[in-house]
């Protein structure tokens, strides 16, 4: 038996063992990811519970009788009104989302300046599992928007250069045209990881369907990457509750353009 044949004879089982070790490691990682991902909503609710427990002032003002099922709708109504009152004291335009009657409103200084009925609203099921203590802690004040992204241009600026003389001005004169509007999809990321996604209710052209697919892909890819980065950096995976609102594209554009850079949202759920 020469040296080469001994090496060749040993190489095959070693490679096989390494292959099975790699497969087992991959299987273990996938299992851990599955468990972490699966339990992320439960961890989120626990975080919300901890949030309410940390606030001693809030706990002192919270009546345990509010957890009674007969009082839930009343507690939610009071939370919403408190949120609106706080929002009315702030400057600039803010957003109000009422999941009870599927309306989205623009709100400034206590006045509803626009009230739009959504074609459909789908709240996240995790939000339905919150106890009244956590609900009041989160929803009895307006939530700040941390990030906005949309397929719509917020300020569609057209640059024109001043003409040198009247002849050039005459030649450059243009008639206003009805604007070609982009498909309207918008995502607002709020405090506590809550997201509100606005989608236009109709796709009139292929372009609309393409933009919808790209928007959803970007949103879900961002979410997936976030989970992966949290997993591989050994952080707890954070679930992000999502409220999906379907409405007319013109209304979504109006809302997106009306909102300032740092708006707040009051939610009735």
């Amino acid at each position: 038996m020469d040296r080469e044949s001994i090496y060749t004879d040993l190489k095959v089982p070693v490679v096989r063992v390494f292959r099975w070790i790699a497969l087992a490691t991959l299987a273990a990682m996938i299992l851990l990811f599955t468990v972490g991902y699966g339990f992320a909503p439960h961890r989120l609710v626990k975080e919300y519970e901890l949030l309410s427990k940390k606030d001693s002032l809030f706990l002192a003002g919270f009546d345990p009788a509010m957890e009674h099922p007969a009082l839930i709708s009343l507690v939610k109504a009071v939370s919403f009104k408190k949120s609106l009152l706080e929002l009315s004291s702030r400057d600039s335009i803010h957003l109000v989302v009422d999941l009870r009657d599927s309306t989205v409103c623009l709100f400034i200084h206590g006045v509803f300046i626009s009230r739009i009925k959504a074609a459909g609203m789908v709240p996240d099921p995790v939000l339905n599992t919150l106890g009244m203590k956590e609900y009041m802690k989160i929803f009895s004040r307006p939530l700040a928007v941390v990030r906005q992204q949309a397929s719509v241009i917020k300020e569609p600026v057209v640059v024109r250069h001043a003409p040198r003389d009247t002849m050039e001005a005459f030649l450059n004169a243009y008639l206003p045209d009805t604007l070609v509007q982009r498909p309207a999809f918008m995502e607002l990321k709020l405090e506590h990881g809550i997201r509100i996604v606005f989608e236009q209710d109709r796709d009139a052209h292929f372009r609309d369907r393409r933009v919808r697919s790209m928007f959803r892909l970007t949103s879900s890819a961002g979410n997936t990457l976030r989970y992966f980065s949290q997993f591989f950096t050994l952080h707890k995976m954070k679930y992000s509750p999502k409220i999906t609102i379907r409405m007319d594209a013109d209304n979504i554009r109006a809302i997106y353009r009306a909102l300032p850079s740092a708006p707040c949202v009051a939610i009735a759920h």
Binding site: T34, L85, H109, T129, P156, A162, T166
Partner: protein, 229 residues
Amino acid sequence: MKRFMEYLRRAGVIVRRYKFVAGILGMVLFFLVFPGLMQELVIGLMAKKSPPAVDAPHRVGETRIRLEKELKQAERKLALRTPRSYYLVINSSSNRFILYRGGMEVWSGKCSTGSYTLLKNGEEQQWMFKTPKGEFRVQGKTVNPVWKKPDWAFVEEGLPVPPAGHPTRFEAGVLGEYALNLGDGYLIHGTLFQRYLGLPVTHGCVRMGDWDLEMVYNALGHGSRVYIY
């Protein structure tokens, strides 16, 4: 049935032959399906969880009365914020306006708002033609307003800019019969170009049709609120 069993047998042979690849594929499939299923299961179990028991059930009645009182107070405070008189809401995205009285819609129509044009005069000067958003108050009302043309009105026509106070700065009849001043140089006024109503064509002001403008002018007074979004 026999054919199905045959296919299963053949699949088993392939899987045994390519165990490693099958393992990888199986894990990818598991990864695509099971995390989502697991999450749905956990959420389902969380939803089924019974709410915490109330320590003092006899206090529910007292709490209900207190909450109802709180709700009424909050609703009253919010209702006070809505103007009881006329106020105007302008949608600069769809170029429409609605006139309200005490929260009820009274009149609506088309208008024109800022064109979002950025006019550049070399590197030193530029003007952005957009209608500002927010809450405004009517600061003045004028009949048969005369337009005092700013510098950009000459620059965009390719004309030399005259000195302030020069007669060419003043042009009558272009702003319609009425004008409402919102401050900072922004007006609600009429227009000669009625066919462009509903389009974003202005330099920042809000243009309305003659009939709508008269209605709004007569309804709003000094200090009336105008909301633009």
